[in-house]
């Protein structure tokens, strides 16, 4: 059952991920990305991170991606034109990527110590309660800092957008 779920959503995620890269139209990529996020949320649930799953859906799926789609609609961005001035990226990209994935695979399968087997429900610490406790005790300062950061981001966005208006 667990395996089945994993396989289904992993495949969805990978297909959607490829779709993000391959689709010519931004909005298709964006929607595929939403698909990736949804399936990842399910995988988070399998990993016992229920809160993170919901946060993933709310923050990513609900806010960030909607913002993206909103902007895409606003700019009415059409499909991109194939124009490659960056010849280096075109040439060197693929081999580097392959080497990268190969290295990562090697690390995952040979270098890492014994990994657990994921069983749904065997570890359910990822509740909102636990995260809240940790977030407001041990990680209080980072939390404050990150909130300041996002405040600054909002201000920056507003400023840029205002420049947009006039």
């Amino acid at each position: 059952m667990d395996t089945v779920l994993f396989i289904i959503f992993a495949i969805v995620a990978i297909v959607a991920g490829f779709n993000v890269v391959l689709q010519r139209h931004p909005i298709s990529s964006a929607l595929s990305l939403v698909g990736v996020m949804g399936s990842l949320a399910v995988l988070y649930l399998l990993l016992g991170a229920e809160f993170m799953a919901m946060a993933q859906m709310i923050v990513y799926g609900g806010a960030v991606m909607v913002l993206f789609i909103f902007v895409i609609m606003l700019l009415n961005a059409g499909a991109e034109k194939p124009s490659s001035k960056a010849w280096f990226a075109q040439i060197a990209g693929l081999p580097l990527l392959l080497a990268f994935i190969a290295t990562l695979g090697f690390l995952i399968y040979s270098a890492l110590p014994g990994l657990r087997a994921v069983e749904f429900g065997s570890w359910t610490m990822g509740t909102a309660e636990e995260i809240g406790k940790l977030l407001f005790t041990q990680y209080l300062l980072p939390f404050e800092v990150i909130s300041v950061l996002i405040l600054i981001a909002i201000l920056g966005a507003v400023v840029l957008a205002l420049k947009e208006i006039d």
Binding site: V34, E50, M54, I58, A63, M73
Partner: protein, 404 residues
């Protein structure tokens, strides 16, 4: 294995009831609006137009499925699908009543409980923007696009007050799952004031409730916030280009959203299925209401306005009497399980029904906002107020950790 079977049964029941409700909700709305505007509303199809929803469904199914030439096919088809699916999910985690035991099987009157139920609801609400937005964008029509843009902006904006309004009852309940929240609202102060969250100590959540309702109007694109489908500005907003079944999907989604949001409101603020005052007396509310309905039907039958009233109204009266009898049995608690089920469902549906009525009522009375007013309202009034409410709640909860 029993788990599966029981769940399956529950799903079937809830689905059937839910779909019918959606269908008849439209009839109810039309009737209520009509009476608000002193019209009679649907009357021709079936007695008092009771067959109207079926007729509508039939019409929508058999209508020609117009497929505009310049649309982005995939998303054009995907959008209503997304909308309706997301709209139908939420009901599956709504508890209608306490734990019951039928034929030795203990189960909850709820399809499935989720630890993070509220968050799930929020997530679904958040994602359900895509339906509208995509519909607007993909149908390649400037009105639709504007509608889509408006709705996405509006939904994002009103999601914040909605979430903040939700957080404060959560602070009181200390739980995220609907079941736990409902249970936390059981009982009475001084024996007669219910522990619903709108009366909950230390800080009654009335403001949160109002904010939640306002935001809910916006989230469901209802008047006075139905900018996305403002028919006098943009023909029909995001679903201008949609017809027949695809249109029906959006239609269903809208009503489903209404039901969901009212259910959530009931669960969060109005104490779910817990009656307004303690058990032995509150049992008799349901029979009383039904009896009054029956009597009014008979009264109507006495002087009929139309000629077939004299047949239909007595029929309704009889039906109501039967229901009254059933609820009397329930109130006497002869069969405990039955009474639990019936009473809790009655109370739950009563609250939801009232809220839905409020929705329709508002639609019948209030004018529509202008777009900038809408945004202004959301960001400069609703958001700060909800934040303030949340702050006060948190402070009081922190000050009085042990509940009275």
């Amino acid at each position: 294995m029993t788990f599966f079977i029981v769940t399956l049964i529950k799903i079937v029941i809830v689905f059937a009831v839910f779909m019918t409700t959606l269908a008849y909700l439209q009839w109810i709305e039309r009737k209520v609006l009509a009476h608000i505007q002193s019209r009679t509303g649907p009357l021709r199809v079936g007695p008092h137009g009771l067959m109207q929803p079926l007729a509508d469904v039939f019409k929508l199914l058999t209508k020609e499925d117009v497929f505009p030439p310049f649309v982005n096919r995939f998303f054009y088809l995907l959008a209503p699908f997304i909308a309706v699916c997301l709209a139908l999910i939420t009901i599956s985690i709504v508890p209608f009543g306490p734990e019951i035991e039928v034929a030795g099987v203990r189960t909850y009157m709820q399809i499935g409980d989720v630890h993070v139920g509220i968050l799930l609801v929020l997530a679904i609400t958040a994602v359900s923007v895509y339906g509208v937005a995509l519909a607007g964008w993909s149908s390649n029509n400037k009105y639709s696009l504007l509608g889509g843009l408006r709705s996405s902006a509006q939904m994002i904006s009103y999601e914040l007050p909605l979430s903040l309004a939700i957080v404060s009852p959560l602070l009181l309940a200390n739980q995220l799952s609907f079941r736990a929240i409902s249970d936390s609202q059981a009982g009475y102060y001084l024996g007669f004031i219910p522990r619903w969250n709108i009366f909950q100590a230390p800080f009654p959540q009335i403001f949160a409730f109002i904010i939640f309702l306002i935001a809910a109007f916006a989230e469901t694109n209802r008047i006075p916030f139905d900018l996305p489908e403002a028919e006098n500005e943009l023909v029909a907003g995001f679903h201008t280009e949609y017809s027949s079944m695809k249109f029906a999907c959006f239609f269903m989604a809208e009503y489903a959203n209404i039901v969901n949001i009212t259910c959530v409101a009931t669960l969060l603020f109005l104490g779910a299925w817990h009656p307004l005052f303690p058990a032995p007396y509150s049992n008799w509310v349901a029979p009383l209401v039904l009896l009054l309905a029956a009597l009014s039907c008979f009264a109507q039958a006495a002087q009929p306005r139309r000629k077939n009233d004299q047949y239909t109204f007595p029929l309704f009266g009889v039906v109501f009497l039967v229901l009254t009898a059933i609820f009397v049995v329930a109130a006497l608690e002869i069969v405990p399980v039955l009474s639990t089920i019936l009473l809790s469902i009655f109370w739950f549906l009563a609250k939801v029904g009232l809220l839905i009525f409020a929705f329709i009522w508002v639609r019948g009375t209030l004018p529509r906002f202008r777009y900038d007013q809408l945004m202004h309202f959301a960001w400069t009034f609703l958001f700060p107020v909800s934040l303030l409410n949340l702050l006060i709640t948190g402070l009081l909860v922190a000050l009085f950790p042990e509940r009275i």
